[in-house]
């Protein structure tokens, strides 16, 4: 019997071990520096950290190759990291521990501000090549009078992608006010097509009606972003609450696809391209993904800015490109070579190299860069807003305040779990932590 009692104990211990083994963290994805040891002598080796999306990888490879063709004393190796919140943590951890790669690519705007750029990054404001970077890009990579990055890729926009053959078949016009948009939706629904595609399976995609509404907010109140940063403007009040209300309106009208709660980005794009759905509120970086889904997708999918109350102020919300930055830990000849690399990135040749590798999704933010003529329709559509000057930067580029739970709240509002007013109120509470973390005044 003693033996059997021991048996129980042994099993219990084994069981406990099995349970605790489940929880072992699997954070380190072993992205070690790949500095090849005995390569050709005297070459300066630089490693360049880029997120792992196909577009970013191809863009990074194109500029690295272009640079190395002219500078044969430098060898650049691309290293990849995950995107999203995991990527944010990797970048922050690498910087905090002094392990950052020689060069890295990261978002501009509010996410960059969270990196403590003044202490962590090399100030480029005195570099000659910064004068070739578009003025509109600089605020999103600056802190005080210091500037930290050159643009990576192109600007993009948030708005509504639409299926042009659905519009042609039903005889619809591109809407310039929200009421026209909703009227179109009604006709589309009557024709048996899902008016608005949503994909809450990828929760971040649920935020677009709020984020892309920001041009309308600034048109209604031009200093809203400053007041927001100073804790004086809130989402619960007009004009900002409109974005939440618009999402709610679309949801309660039953305009969304049946599987909105589980669909993912790729499925949503497939629906748009097939004509199962007519509108998809999205960022235009997805152009590269959907053009491969159907032969006619490039011409068939168009883009319009999220309509507001007034047709006269209709315009788009723009996202500035990500930036390429140098951490303060890059020194000596590496720093000199890395600066040469940034110098190259801010040239029209680098833009052309990127265009060749990846279809551009918007204008470049380097002076002298041009776009080819044979672009997908959606890019041409958004380009015309830029050309007419009807564009405002998204909130994340004019204010460092962005709460982490917006995508959860918009899922709730879009699923009818929470009302627009409640959602806006909850989001106002959510941003407080971010503001306090950044040590902003007035919070």
């Amino acid at each position: 019997m003693n033996f059997k009692k021991h048996g129980i104990a042994a099993i219990a211990i084994a069981a406990a071990a099995a349970l605790s083994a489940c929880s072992a963290g699997s954070l380190g994805s072993s992205d070690d520096d790949t500095t090849s040891g005995g390569a050709a002598a005297e070459k300066i080796e630089l490693s360049f950290l880029v997120d792992n999306t196909e577009t970013s990888q191809m863009t990074a490879q194109a500029i690295a190759d272009g640079f190395m063709a002219e500078n044969d004393d430098v060898e650049i190796t691309i290293e990849s990291r995950p995107g999203g919140a995991d990527g944010d943590n990797i970048v922050k951890t690498k910087l905090a521990t002094g392990e950052m790669n020689d060069i890295f690519m990261y978002n501009s705007g509010s996410l960059l501000q969270a990196l403590d750029p003044t202490n962590q990054l090399v100030d480029l404001s005195s570099e000659e090549f910064m004068s070739r970077v578009d003025e509109a890009f600089l605020p999103s990579v600056s802190s005080g009078d210091k500037v930290f990055g050159v643009p990576f890729g192109q600007a993009m926009a948030g708005g509504i992608l639409y299926n042009r053959s659905v519009y042609d078949d039903l005889g619809l016009e591109v809407p310039t006010t929200w009421d026209e948009f909703m009227a179109n939706n009604e006709k589309i629904k009557a024709a048996g097509i899902d008016p608005v595609i949503q994909s809450f399976g990828d929760t971040w995609t649920s935020q677009l009606f709020i984020l892309a509404d920001f041009h309308n907010v600034t048109q209604a109140q031009s200093d809203w972003a400053e007041k927001y940063t100073a804790n004086q403007a809130k989402y619960v009040d007009e004009p900002a609450i409109k974005g939440f209300q618009r999402l709610e309106e679309v949801a309660t009208a039953g305009y969304m696809n049946e599987d909105y709660a589980t669909a993912k980005l790729d499925q949503a794009l497939t629906k748009l391209v097939n004509g199962e759905g007519a509108h998809y509120p999205m960022l235009t970086f997805v152009v590269n993904t959907y053009v491969t889904l159907a032969d006619d997708a490039a011409e068939n999918i168009g883009f319009f800015a999220q309509p507001g109350d007034d047709a006269a102020t209709n315009g788009l919300t723009a996202w500035t490109p990500a930036g390429i930055y140098l951490p303060a830990t890059t020194e000596g000849e590496e720093l000199e070579a890395a600066k040469r690399f940034l110098d190259y990135v801010a040239t029209p040749e680098a833009c052309d190299a990127q265009t060749e590798a990846v279809t551009p999704t918007g204008p470049y933010m380097v002076q002298g860069c041009t776009l080819p003529d044979d672009l997908p329709q959606a890019v041409l559509d958004l380009q015309s807003y830029f050309d007419e000057g009807k564009a405002s930067p998204a909130l994340e580029f004019v204010s460092p305040v962005k709460g982490p739970n917006l995508e959860k709240i918009t899922v709730e509002v879009g699923s009818g779990i929470r009302s627009a007013a409640d959602g806006a109120k909850l989001y106002d509470q959510d941003v407080e932590k971010q503001a306090q973390q950044l040590g902003l005044e007035g919070w």
């Binding site: 019997m1 349970l19 919140a85 910087l95 809450f200 709660a261 982490p404 709730e412 779990i417 973390q437």
Partner: protein, 311 residues
């Protein structure tokens, strides 16, 4: 010790008390100097003690990884005013008690069946245990596909017999219970295994005596199996309750705490703070989780131990 132990002890001659302290404490000190503790002790100190103590400090700071500002109890105040934190506390308790309770009842039921001399017993035992061997992430992702309300296999099967299946993981009312059910499916094998061990340890003499007295199968279960497998029950309760209270992997891979905040538990709220870069806040959350788990498990385990009967 009971009669069963007494029947085995006579084989070993009772050792005279005088012979016992052959190795004096002094002798141990001489043979095994304290230095032997150093390697293990250092590892434990550096990897466990230091981070634990530090985490109690960082819980009181606003920590960006680059610098930490002392903010007193602010993090705890913020953590408790976190949207849905109260909801997530309630969810954690529901999740822990539902999974723990189901594992006790179902694990016991399965074990009672699997200790009988039934057909293909070994095969059925392994079958019950297999889900335990699969990674929680794999299970989560698989069920996410199976339970897809529009084109998942489960609702397709229900539809074939004319039932309109619920929306499982995306219905805010049942998302948490759906995840709990998946957890039970995955963890039931371990509970069954512990119960089988517990039931097998009950001496056959009791059953024989009961049968001679004319006890029915239900009487045997109620008066012999249930009380005498209590050590197994308390092990299952403690293990599954701890597992349930800090459950994270399955919830994160199936719903990420969603839709919205409907299936958030403390661990997923903490992870989201960490993701958002609020390192001090998430550390404070971990301290809260530590306290909650201890406050529930410690008294419970004391109580369960006091109730254990000796075979």
């Amino acid at each position: 010790m009971s009669a069963s132990t007494a029947s085995t002890t006579p084989a070993a001659p009772p050792s005279p008390p005088a012979a016992k302290p052959r190795i004096s404490p002094v002798h141990i000190d001489k043979t095994y100097p304290m230095w032997f503790y150093v390697p293990g002790g250092l590892v434990f100190l550096i990897l466990f003690i230091v981070p634990t103590v530090l985490s109690f400090y960082y819980a009181f700071t606003r920590w960006t990884l680059f610098d930490a500002t002392f903010v007193g109890f602010d993090n705890f105040v913020t953590f408790f005013s976190e949207p849905g934190l109260i909801g997530s506390l309630v969810n954690t308790l529901i999740y822990a008690f539902v999974t723990s309770g189901s594992k006790v009842v179902l694990g016991m039921a399965l074990a009672v069946v699997l200790v009988q001399h039934i057909w293909a017993r070994g095969y059925l035992r392994s079958l019950t245990f297999f889900p335990v061997l699969v990674s929680a992430v794999g299970v989560g992702l698989t069920f996410q596909v199976l339970l897809n309300p529009t084109d998942g296999l489960v609702n397709a099967a229900l539809g074939a017999v004319g039932i309109d299946g619920p929306r499982w993981l995306v219905d805010p009312d049942i998302a948490l219970l759906t995840v709990a059910a998946i957890d039970v499916w995955k963890g039931i094998g371990l509970a069954t295994l512990i119960y089988i061990a517990g039931l097998v340890a009950i001496p056959q003499e009791y059953y024989e005596a009961a049968r001679v007295d004319g006890a029915s199968a239900w009487d045997i279960f109620r008066t012999i199996m249930l009380p005498l497998s209590f050590p197994a029950t308390s092990t299952v309760i403690i293990l599954s309750l701890i597992g349930g209270l800090r459950s994270f992997d399955l919830i994160w891979t199936t719903t990420q705490g969603g839709p919205g905040f409907a299936s958030d538990v403390i661990a997923s709220v903490i992870y989201k703070q960490y993701q958002a870069g609020f390192y001090g806040l998430s550390t404070a959350g971990n301290v809260v989780l530590f306290i909650v788990v201890t406050a529930i498990i410690y008294p419970l385990s004391r109580w369960l131990n006091s109730k254990e009967v000796v075979l």
